[in-house]
């Protein structure tokens, strides 16, 4: 059985699955239940200075598919609404009872050193393993100059990180907001400030839906709504990209990353780990299904690692980073074509109509024996994958790279590029 133990910024946990700073980690009761279920660590829901914030009634919005499966989730809840002293006491108790689990504490304060350093110093004696600076909350707190209001200004990210680092011996993880134009600016700022790691993404600014009867955003608070933080499966692609950008960027390469964003399965987690993450943080999946989902996350990841021959997370951690490149580094000479397995085909016609209406008219219909025969016209197929994605049958449409003997040729070298940096070597 694979060894799932994880170490990130010196913080150890028996597995890489942490609960993100959010409602599931708001108090001792929940966190103890999570540890009993097998979670490797938690980031305790963000602490702030007293007096505690007050939350509104009705806090969550959701994007559901036709079968009420959850695609995306959003919230307008603020940080912990319990007194600091209560949280600190519970953190200490839980850490003492569960010494092998990662106990990271999230914190947020106004833009003064006194506030940030003060909070960090209060947290340190609890025995917590690390701090996570919440620079991401995109609703409510930002209107008070906290959360994403800090995270969106790289200079402030750097400044606060430095203040906290100076105030504590604990590892400091900086949680980044995706509500920016370029995540590298804040990641680099965190590193300059001395961050031991970054975690991302925080939630995406969003309106979950409009209630067409109330003519108001959801969640609706007495007829009004506000933008909230979007998370869940829908944001995973956004998160993967931002993680990859940091992992492959020269200035931030090697900075430990705790991956967050739409992680609901072991496979999601493996993808983040492959992009260099040292741990992953989960919230939505736990909120939808309960803490028990970690069982398959552990079991599935372990089984997959055994299958692949990976003994530790380090064996595959970051393995995909080198294959994330700029578009300009892609091979223009590579050609792949779709192929339709006529035996697996169930004759729904979706590949045809998708290609016919919206792509390259490269799938024709031939009369078949009892069912239509869908055939890819190789001359017209550009290998876009659309048909493979809309096909309801797994493995029915597969993509096949075509050997053409041509060299790796990037756009900057491409003869069709009027700005090409070097002409291709002319064939005599």
């Amino acid at each position: 059985m694979a060894d799932l133990s994880s170490t990130i910024a010196g913080i150890k946990s028996p597995n890489p699955f942490w609960l993100a700073s959010a409602p599931p980690t708001d108090k001792e009761y929940n966190v103890v239940r999570a540890f009993k279920a097998g979670w490797g660590g938690v980031v305790w829901k963000t602490l702030g200075e007293d007096p505690p914030v007050v939350n509104v009634s009705s806090r969550y919005g959701a994007l559901l598919d036709g079968n009420r499966g959850l695609i995306g989730f959003n919230n307008i809840e603020l940080i912990t609404d319990r007194p600091l002293e209560v949280n600190l006491r519970e953190i200490a108790a839980v850490k003492k009872a569960w010494p092998d689990r990662a106990m990271v504490v999230s914190l947020m304060a106004v833009m003064t050193e006194e506030a940030w350093a003060g909070l960090a110093r209060r947290i340190e004696p609890t025995g917590a393993d690390g701090l996570e600076l919440n620079f991401g909350c995109p609703h409510g707190m930002c209107e008070r100059g906290m959360g994403s209001a800090i995270g969106q200004v790289p200079e402030m990210v750097e400044q606060v990180t430095r203040w906290v680092k100076n105030a504590t011996r604990l590892p400091v993880i900086v949680k980044l907001t995706p509500n920016i134009t370029n995540v590298l600016w804040s990641a680099e700022a965190a590193k300059r400030g001395g961050a031991d790691a970054v975690s991302l993404i925080n939630t995406v600014n969003s309106i979950a839906s409009i209630d067409l009867d109330a003519m108001a955003p959801t969640p609706t608070v007495d007829g009004k709504g506000t933008h909230g933080g979007y998370c869940g499966p829908a944001v995973k692609p956004i998160a993967l990209n931002m993680v990859a950008e940091i992992a492959r960027n020269a200035e931030t390469h090697g900075l430990p990353i705790s991956g967050i964003g739409g992680i609901g399965t072991w496979r999601d987690a493996a993808e983040f780990l492959a992009l260099g993450c040292g741990s992953v943080q989960v919230c939505t999946a736990a909120m939808v299904y309960g803490f028990r989902v970690v069982e398959d996350m552990i079991d599935g990841l372990s089984a997959w690692m055994d299958e692949k021959g990976y003994r530790t997370l380090a064996d595959f951690q970051g393995r995909a980073v080198r294959n994330v490149v700029n578009w300009n580094d892609l091979n223009m000479n590579f050609v792949t074509k779709a192929k339709i397995d006529k035996d697996l085909c169930i004759d729904c016609g979706r590949c045809h109509i998708a290609c016919e209406d919206t792509s390259h008219q490269a799938i024709r219909i031939l009369p078949g024996d009892g069912k239509r025969l869908f055939e890819v016209v190789d001359e017209d197929c550009v290998g876009c994958n659309l048909c493979a994605h809309v096909c309801p049958v797994p493995e029915c449409i597969t993509m096949h790279p075509q050997a053409n003997g041509l060299p790796y040729l990037t756009w900057p070298e491409h003869p069709g590029n009027p700005m090409r940096v070097q002409p291709p070597q002319a064939a005599e």
Binding site: G66, L344, I346, D347, G349, R350
Partner: protein, 438 residues
């Protein structure tokens, strides 16, 4: 096929219990999400009325349930009955591509019922009539073909008078389908819905040949549609058919539907149903519902040759009907003028021909229900050309007489199904409209 999908829980059917429970909103949503929204979908091709099935299912999925009902009813005004009575297992659901990978089609019939029920419950008439044309059309027969024709003609602006021999319109929907398929007086609710469009007058108790002739109708109206159905029943042609207790299955079904006394007592009796179509199955199951002690359905060929689908046969078995095949009736035995048994000959198929083996099998019984098909009663047709015992029509459903069209079971079209009759009635309405505007 195993079991009866969606059968109402609790085992035995009753005369007033739904065969298939209606979908809840949650079920409809889950099932609609299974539809792949196929391009040029096979289910549409398999439907005689070519309902845009992926289109209406998508509308259910988006919460546009009344829009879904309109899509259904625009193609098939009796989409409500068809949702209940269609043998979907050999039509749309048989063609569903979900069968191929999962052996489990999208439950199109139940989704169709969900959508049409919602519209009926809301009391919405989604169609409007075009400007009056001043043309008048007589429709003979208030069954599925006649009413479908009348509804479309009225939409096209014509004035329609429907002549119905029986006391109620609805035809076999009202008199011929098993009660457990049409609970809560659905056939009449559907008739009311169709008539609520306006422009359609129904005259019940008026029979062609008895109360009115085709010649008169041609004089009084600009066009005539004949949706006569098949009012006569075939006989077995064996000795003893006149014994007490030997009756036509359709008469028993009609009486049970009308909640009047059946022509023969069923409670506690041993019943033999002769035939292999849906009428035979309906009669057999309803006999059990009405208290028959045991019911044997005997058919002269095998299961595969039965007109009733495998699904219907399974339903009959589940309800306790004993299905016996390869038995052809040779004589009905009696005592004191009442039936006591049916004598069958065991049959085999040899060289593609059905032949008797000479072996005799006797089935004791108190009641014999004949379900060996219906035939056209040709009274009042005034020289209209027939073909193969049905009214002869061309590709536009025009008969041999100008301005006279026909459809439904009285012509030889596709299957003898409600959905086929509705398809005929709609097609004939467009043909009549073109004729009237020519």
């Amino acid at each position: 096929m195993s079991g009866v999908h969606g059968a109402a829980p609790g085992g035995a059917l009753g005369l007033d219990r739904d065969l298939v429970s209606p979908f809840t909103a949650l079920q409809a949503m889950a099932e609609s999400s299974r539809c792949l929204y196929c391009y040029e979908a096979a289910c549409v091709t398999a439907c005689p009325t070519a309902i845009d099935i992926p289109g209406f299912i998508r509308k259910i999925g988006t919460g546009n349930v009344k829009g879904a009902a309109r899509t259904i009813l625009d193609a098939n005004i009796m989409g409500g009955t068809c949702a209940r009575a269609c043998p979907t297992e050999v039509l749309c659901e048989q063609a569903c591509v979900r069968n191929k990978a999962e052996s489990e089609p999208v439950r199109i019939g139940r989704l169709q019922r969900y959508a049409t029920d919602a519209l009926f419950t809301a009391g919405v008439q989604p169609f409007a009539r075009q400007a009056p044309t001043g043309k008048r059309v007589a429709v003979v027969g208030g069954g599925p073909a006649g009413l479908a024709c009348a509804h479309r003609l009225a939409m096209l602006g014509h004035e329609v008078t429907v002549f119905e021999a029986r006391a109620k319109a609805g035809g076999l929907n009202e008199y011929g389908l098993a009660a457990y398929k049409m609970v809560d007086d659905f056939a009449q609710r559907e008739v009311d819905f169709i008539l609520s469009l306006g422009g359609i007058t129904v005259k019940t108790g008026v029979a062609l040949g008895r109360d009115v002739t085709l010649t008169e109708l041609r004089q009084d109206f600009d066009a005539v549609f004949l949706g006569l159905g098949l009012a006569g029943t075939n006989t077995l042609g064996v000795e003893g058919e006149d014994l007490a207790g030997v009756v036509a299955a359709v008469d028993v079904i009609a009486a049970l539907r009308q909640k009047t006394a059946p022509p023969v007592e069923l409670a506690g009796r041993r019943v033999v149903v002769i035939g292999g179509g849906n009428t035979a199955i309906d009669a057999a199951i309803q006999s059990l519902c009405a208290g028959a002690a045991d019911v044997v359905l005997a058919y002269r060929r095998g299961s595969a040759q039965m007109g009733a689908t495998g699904h219907e046969q399974d339903l009959a078995r589940t309800q306790g009907v004993v299905l016996r095949t390869w038995l052809a009736p040779r004589a009905i035995e009696g005592m004191g003028g009442a039936v006591t048994a049916v004598e069958f000959e065991r049959m085999v198929m040899e060289g593609g021909r059905l032949i008797g083996t000479g072996e005799r099998v006797t089935e004791p019984c108190d009641v014999v229900l004949k379900a060996v098909g219906q035939k056209l009663v040709a009274g009042g047709l005034d020289g209209l050309a027939l073909a193969g015992g049905r009214i002869q029509v061309d590709g536009h459903l025009a008969t041999s007489l100008p301005g006279v069209y026909a459809g439904g079971d009285c012509i030889k079209s596709g299957e003898d199904l409600t959905v086929q009759s509705v398809a005929d009635g709609k097609a004939a309405a467009f043909a009549i409209d073109a004729y009237l505007k020519a």
